[in-house]
Amino acid sequence: MTTDPMAEIRTSFFAECDELLESLQDALNLMDEGEHDSETINVVFRAVHSIKGGAGAFGLDALVSFAHQYETVMDEVRSGRLVPDASAIKLFFRAADMLQDIVRTTRDEQHPPPGIEDMLALLKALLHEDAQELDEPVAFTPLGLSLEFDLGAPAIDVAPAEIDDDFGWTITFTPNAGLYASGNEALLILRSLSNLGHCVIRCLVPEDLPPPDESNAETPLLSWRIILEEDVPESDIRQVFDFVNDVCQLQISPRKVIDDLAPTRPERISPTAEAALPPVGSTSAKKPAGDDACPISSAASKVSLVPHPRPARPVDTNAHEPATMVRVDMEKIDRLVNLIGELVINQAMLAQSVETAGMSQQSDIMAGLESFMTLTRDIKESVMTIRAQPVKSLFQRMARIVREASASVEKEVRLKSVGEYTEVDKTVIERLADPLTQMIRNAVDHGLERPDVRRAASKPPEGQITLSASHRAGRVLIEIEDDGAGIDRPKVRDIAIQKRLIAPDASLTDAEIDQLLFLPGFSTATEVSALSGRGVGMDVVKAAITSLGGRITTTSVPGQGTKFSISLPLTLAVLDGMVVQAAGQTLVVPLSAIIETAKLEEQNIHRLSASGMMMRFRQELVPLFDLGQKLGFRDMRDIAAAGIVLLTVQEDGRRAALIVDAIMEQRQVVIKGLGQTCGHIPGVAAATILGDGQIALILDPGDLVWGGASSPHFDTKAG
């Protein structure tokens, strides 16, 4: 086996780990909500177990040993000997976080995270003394028989064969060398299998079973024949064997067929390889070309009657995934998105030229063009949904932030997530993680009160943070709501005055005071904690949201809580823009940057100097610029002649008025990067192609007016 397929398998193992960790979180959440049915616990168990198994196959010892202890505890829970209380479930969450960390560090080949030993000790402490051993009498288990049975017996019925109907599956499971060495355990696999339904399991024992000693402790000698009396999909069975696929031989056949060929009466079962692998299995097994994934060790070949390791791996490792899922390189999708952008532009150009050619509205060409337009729009939308992902993974990360943050400030916090299957563009999700983390930390640290304060206010001591996502009017709405004390507006005001952010006599509305939170270097926590620092963040949060084309608003009711609402575009590939003209050039101004448009009137203009102008806009003076001149497209001119101003706003609330010659239309434009050849052009964010095939520049008004100082960063002086 070359290194390349190995790396590929490794990558897919870590991708699977992510999925398993996700299902682990889900199940723990259910347990936390009081769900203690066996299926939920099994999900936790299976997730941990699968990670352990896979990690074993790659020799990732740190992961195996941690997962093993976790699994041991979960097995206790599963068997009902350990009934987890709230604190135990909390520990399971933390252990899941730790597991995630170990997976991550292992993947990135970094040092394992600190604290593994402590966590292991905590997990161990949960176990009863007599339960430290992972041994458990189970009706079907062949363990405990291995030393006592008659070695001459060809096969042993562990459970009576209750074959009374003919549906279900017959499974032959023969571990190869390496199965035990890689941290797998046949017993656990058989147990998982029995979760699918009633199993009749018989152990096939070779005739010349050597006496056990240390040298052959990891050599598989036994194989099993399982009759699963349950009509489950084959993929479910495959899933159980997922992590041992390459270190065992597996035959799965529907009961009916196998019964004909190999009757299940024990005396007819020969322990030889031929019988253990009935011909029906071998014909159905699709042997992947060149797949010699089961090298046999010298020890195994010496002692075992285990059939020669024919790579009987009928399916590849991804077979358990639903056939409808495909992992695709993000780059390919991006290329597709680009092409669709082309198509949209091309179609607009075609429509324009048909119109110019003077075609009648009733002509076939116009009708055809109409349906072409509909199709183009449909294609565009479905391609955009490919890039979309549920926000679930993001929300789970936030759940972890809540756990860690609440532990460090000693507050009881419960996170409720709503609408976690809402789909958002992948890039948006990635870039939302940091601002959302900051906001969640703020909510825990600043938003919620201490338990004693909450009790005094006759609220439950446990604070609640609700994280919700939903689609609204073509945008994504993400809300972070806490049931804390609300924004302490008099205090915010005092601090703002103290920090000279506002004049002492300024009269501000509640909404305006809330906006002060987003000013750089603002801090309201009287107790500065390591967690959310010194109020660093809300300005950076706002900048990050704005850079995604989003807006953030605040609502707060004293004593009842605070809600931050983030509204985001569904995708970053298109943008709502206002197409304007200035100095003969067509330009696009992002709609998210425009507050309003107005007519420029002479009496509102205040000239400060030769070049500096202000404009009065509802009792407020904002700097006024001529867009064409600011871009260097024309010289100074008498601006009174010009017509329309756009009032633009920065993420930090700074405003500026831009004079344009005309407003053409409002439309969605496909964003095109300017590429490295052009370098950074002040005031220009990107470009787009309009319906006439011409390129129009997309402006960044903040950058245009304030240059490099436009993106606010935390100012250490102000802290």
Binding site: N338, G632, F633, Q676, T677, I681, P682, V684, I689
Partner: protein, 155 residues
């Protein structure tokens, strides 16, 4: 152009020659991606005078450089008979606005003479070699110095 000329032998290079003002220039044909007619470029704010702007090349935002202005001559106004030669050097793709495309030349390395020191004037640094054919002097451009990029001068 005869067929046998298109098949350059090992030491031969094919060059695309074009006219800028009254002078002939050329670039290796392998660096040329396509030739297209003049379309109005969208000007970029605060760009040096030789950067004509950007055009839409089938969905790609392509910067166009006025070769005449780049070489220190009068800028090309941009009329229908002007031509944009799209060239790629490494990661960078750009259009060169020239007056007209002239010919495809097949020359061997020995026909290329190093640019004399005396030519190292204002535009001399953009010239890699000289070719003399039919009493015409054709300058071989060094595209790396022409295109914007890492070694961009403060024009």
């Amino acid at each position: 152009m005869a067929d046998n000329q298109l098949h350059a032998s090992e030491d031969e290079t094919e060059l695309l020659s074009f006219r800028v003002g009254t002078q002939e220039y050329c670039v290796e044909i392998m660096l040329v991606r396509e030739i297209r007619g003049w379309t109005r470029a969208t000007p970029l704010p605060h760009s040096p005078p030789h950067v004509k702007g950007v055009i839409n090349l089938r969905g790609i935002v392509l910067p166009v450089i006025d070769l005449s202005a780049r070489l220190g001559m009068d800028p090309i106004e941009g009329v229908d008979r002007n031509v944009i030669v799209v060239v790629s050097v490494g990661e960078i793709t750009a259009g060169l606005l020239v007056d007209a495309v002239s010919d495809i030349l097949t020359v061997s390395e020995k026909d290329m003479q190093p640019a004399p020191e005396i030519a190292a004037g204002r535009s001399g640094r953009y010239i890699r070699a000289l070719i003399v054919t039919d009493e015409k002097l054709i300058r071989v451009l060094d595209l790396k110095t022409i295109l914007p990029g890492e070694n961009q001068d403060a024009a």
